[in-house]
Symmetry: C2
Amino acid sequence: MVISKSGGTAETSSQLLWIIEKLRQRGIDPDASIVAITDPENGTLRSIAQQRGWRTLPVPPEVGGRFSVLTAVGLLPAALTGIDIHALVAGARSALSDLSSATADHALVRWISSWEEHHELRTMVVHFAYRDRLVTLGDWFAQLWAESLGKKHDLSGQEVYRGSTPLVARGVTDQHSLVQLFVEGPDDKQFLFLDAHLNESDLEISKETAQLHPDLEYLGNKSLGELRRAELEGTIAALQSAGRPVSRVLLDTIDESHIGAWMMLMEIATVLAAEILNVDPFDQPGVEGGKAVAFARMGKPGWSEKGRRIEAGAQELKPSPPIPVSKNND
Amino acid sequence: MVISKSGGTAETSSQLLWIIEKLRQRGIDPDASIVAITDPENGTLRSIAQQRGWRTLPVPPEVGGRFSVLTAVGLLPAALTGIDIHALVAGARSALSDLSSATADHALVRWISSWEEHHELRTMVVHFAYRDRLVTLGDWFAQLWAESLGKKHDLSGQEVYRGSTPLVARGVTDQHSLVQLFVEGPDDKQFLFLDAHLNESDLEISKETAQLHPDLEYLGNKSLGELRRAELEGTIAALQSAGRPVSRVLLDTIDESHIGAWMMLMEIATVLAAEILNVDPFDQPGVEGGKAVAFARMGKPGWSEKGRRIEAGAQELKPSPPIPVSKNND
């Protein structure tokens, strides 16, 4: 399965080529084995797929990479891992249609209002999930939020260098890593806590076992779920006591329809945040420079001059030879 | 293996109790199976270990959790996974002794000078590792840096809310996630790129396979390692062109002695940064509030009043009822 809207991304292309080589070496026909998810008409990958007769699924041309999780781009891999993608899409659709009757109490309205109120002073958003199964949503959110909002120019073409930086944290682990900074450091962050009602078996500690030591007796007849919840409440209270802005989201349950709903709400929240910052959420001009340099170094035709110019300019501006770390460090 | 300096941390204690219960249920003697790494004299865990006759290793009393990776805390787990801990410690020792003859060209001096020059405007440090085997060093760095520097009070007791926020990125993946923000967003970050000379077999693409499509021919006779390197240079050039401060570290090779050396240098860098910010790198008073609330909620004797007071104060200051996400979202 190869996924690329254009087929021009060097990492995807090179991995595709390498895998084709390995398949051939093992006597497997690549053309019968590969599925391409790409633009329905244009681009290198579509052209290859047509020539070689690969099976394909489309990436809707009007949907950019970071907004594509609910298209074939996300849905085929999800289906292959056993996720109910019909429920995922139904949850997203229902969240979208419910918006027409949204009031000030709606999850999306409350979160984006809180973000807007604080975003000028609090330029970071900490995505703090307190359930392991919600943590990787943070990585998805990070791309969506960072790439959509981080823009040099606003919609009128002014240089503004806008943006909001996502930071992904995991409860309770990062209480022992980042919370000291969050509570006592600069007041430059706002917090989005993600939790869900428990819908899985909890682990209980018996009264007898907790008698191991008087200091631990309080844990008798308690569960790890209760402890996780107490830690979440403790972290939120500590942040609020320090005057740090906290929003908290509580999913009714962790299943496809709720995750689909939440993803849709976050995609819309990102577009609303772009509206507030007056930037285009759908472009990413800032990745072109690095791409040009990489293409030039790899010898891709047509890129050498542009890539070398950027690299030479950068070196002139701010040379940074690598700092060596060798066995003898000095 | 249970690791806790005091034995008072609720997550560690509750997991320990739960595992003791499971061992007993399966007819395994916990006292013969558990190894405790804890304070050599004081604390709940030391007291349990003594009573039950557990095997133990010490956490040096003067070394706090985030600086303990090169003590038994990190070394026993590392040894069990097959890491050569003697080389790790030797690398750290050698990096430390080399410091006495360090010049301005030394890795540590160059990185901390660059950080100091930019830290007031660039309050975030992006740990950008371009080798998969270096990425999790970022999580270790994040705790070390965040918890050591994020402090409400400086050494003279003034309220200063100092700190520097670590952000962990992975190359090349995060080029497609965060680099747009890094290049075009607010100029509030500085960058630490980590790379190493290749000391493992590289994957090559043959000239024939690259003839799949004219657009991909440039990848023939190239390797994935070359591509990774080109992408790294491209990202650095793009950031430098945008005037963003970049430091780059190049390990001679990825092995225990170089990782040990680098960890030692980063621990010292963190202490130097604390010196620059005039804060105590070794305390973490900001985690006490959350702990008190969690203990109070779990019914730990002696904590109920303090915990309830913090939580009530927080609620009064800034109530934040959870935002529900249910099937019907409005």
